[in-house]
Amino acid sequence: MLLKSLKLKDFRQFKGEQTIVFSDDPEKNVTVIMGDNGTGKTTLAQAFTWCLYGETDFDDKILLCKATLRDMLPGQTEKVRAELTLTHKGTEYIIVSEQQYRKTDKSDKPVEVAGQRGFTIMYKQGGQVEYVKQSQLDGRMKEILPFELARYFFFDGERITVMSKRLSQGKGDEFARAVRSLLGLDAFTSAIDHLKKTIKDYDKKYDARSDSKIEDYTYQISNFEQTIELIEMRLSEIADEEVLVTERIGDLQAAIEKNKKSEELAEREKKLISRRDALIVQKGRNITGLLSALKRAPAYFAKKMMRDSLQQLTKTGKTDKSVPFVNAETIKYLIERGRCICGAEVCTGTDACNTLTELFSYVPPKSIGDSIADFREKCKERVRISESMFDDFEAKYADVCACDSEYAEVLQDIADVGKQLLGMDDVGKLQADRKRYETNLRGLHMEKSDCERRMGGLETECKRVETERDKLTLKDDNNRRVTIYKAYAQYMYNTLLEQYAEEERKIREELEETVNDIFHSLFDEGFMLELSERYDVNVILSDFGGSSETSTAQNISIIFAFIAGVIKMARESQKEENGLLVTEPYPFVMDAPLSSFDKKRIENVCDVLPRIAEQVIIFIKDTDGEIAEEHLGNRIGRRLTFHAPNNSKTETYVS
């Protein structure tokens, strides 16, 4: 299959009708499509799969060009169309996919699908254009390029990453199916499957009339086989689960190593947080102390007024001449009694009487001396309580400030630790997870050995019953004939299986060799790729030192080498006319993230690719244009550029 052209109409960014013609020149077999990110390289890869299979990976399933939609009126319909012209086994095919869209007046859903996707395959025969019948469309498409294989030929950057991950994670069975199919081993597998079914059918042909035991045995055998099949299925599931669990344990182990530092950090964070909380409590206590000092503020604030008052009272002689708790009534009583408290006689005109009479001016109610005395006492008391007030207050405030500055430091430290911890996982949780997975894995191992033991027992038992039945069947002519036929079928089955295994092994080895050759032409000899029976890929470091490149480049190279290897083998097998493996060569359409590679690798990729595939269509970034031109120059048959006017995300034009 070689691609000739792709005509798109209003497909995503490709506004209006635009045609992309690919180079099918045997010498200049490279088509380079340049465009910056977002101009539609991924869209083009998806246009192939939509045209051929009606499938896309877009989240937004509406394919109609947004720029076209903008110009439409509500109710108006517009068609999205993709037309791919290709040649397959010497016949030119035109494959067309179409979908109608209608603009609505709803703001949340401005466009809706109108009708089914139209799918047509045409081919040219003797100058005439013929249509493949509707009922045969699927079959013909499978013949040209089955969907499950297509994904290995139409790549975009994202898919390369996913695929290489799957391969290096040991999920190669999907790839194994693709390889078998591409390299023509399908015929083998169909024959083997058919023979297996035939052998089973013979079992039903035994005539049980001659001996009811035969029926009984057949029934038992069928039961055994069913059970064995169930166990086999479970074993295969266990194998898959083991791969997943082991991979997860590996990931967790790596994460634990990486996050070891987080344990220390988490410990430090814990300490800081407890210090922070202690400081909050301490600050609260300091503020309480400070505010309790404030309770003495009225006395403290009044000090100046007390001083001024006392000064003035002293200055004006309003001092205290009173006798405490003595008032006019007391003096009056003493004079009338004629005797003082001390016992001295008090008579009118005596000194004692005169002194007492003078006191009338200084004792209440006439005098305010008591009040002044009282005031003075209050001053003394108030001064006493406020004496250390400001010093206490200042000291508490210093504590509050010290606490605040430590608090700020601790907060900063917590933020710093938090920043460092960001992106790190909790090691405790990782370890718990790993332990869980390890338990899970042990469980799987146990179940596996249990299954194998049970299966062994069942197989022995099944063989014994089969022998018993064989003995009985020989007694009856018809049954003896069935046994003989079955033995033939079994023999053929075994022979084919052996031969298939042999062919498959050869292909696998050859593939491994081819892939390694290509891989080595891309990478240095430092790496080896090993292909397991399940087509899992192991990268083996054959010496230390390796490459300075990222693992992305390595992963891309692995997948690259694989696809290129399969295509190369498919092409070569076609040349063996009598070979069992007959397939078509396929084009290689891929996003070549040249920027992921270093200069030497780019040179290698550009050199190897066009020699392996008959047709190469690669997408590159504008910035990689010069590199591609430099290394692919003489192999480039066509150069195309995708450009979006004014960096528009909704319009792309091909030139």
Binding site: I287, A297, P298, R307, Q312, T314, T319, S371, F390, E394
Partner: protein, 174 residues
Amino acid sequence: MMLFQGQYWFYGTHADKVKKLTAEFVGKHKLFSYNHEVYQLAPIVGYLYNRKAAQNREGGSDTSIFPDQISNNKDVFQFNYQLIMLLDVNHEASFDARVDKAFRFYGTDKAAMDEELYESYVRGGVDVLYEKLIEPSTSPDDYIKNLYEFMEDFESRHGQNTKEIYDLCRIARS
């Protein structure tokens, strides 16, 4: 009605400010625990900052001090009253008359003007406390800082030598 007897009320903007001065901030702290604590400090601050304020009823807000709190702290209130009466020369130029206001007229009909003066210093003091402690704050965290600045400012302006006052107390007793 006589001062320092029965329930005491703040009204209008002053009631609002007293509420804010006694409100809880971070960590359940309060600058003043009770209204009567504001009432103990405000007249002194009002007098020293030379701030008087008329009563208003803006916003219809009010808040009070219960009679038992008034009577429990009557000594302090009365002492403050005496200080202001003794010192406010603008209110009364003669010292003898001021002494009478401080020690003789309190509680009599002659004290009506004096009590009004005292009340206006209380309200002026509430305004000053609010302006110094609450108003400049962007967050309650600032209250403590404002309080310290206020105290520090006061200390530098009116800070007193305690010994001098003790000496004066001694001299006053002849």
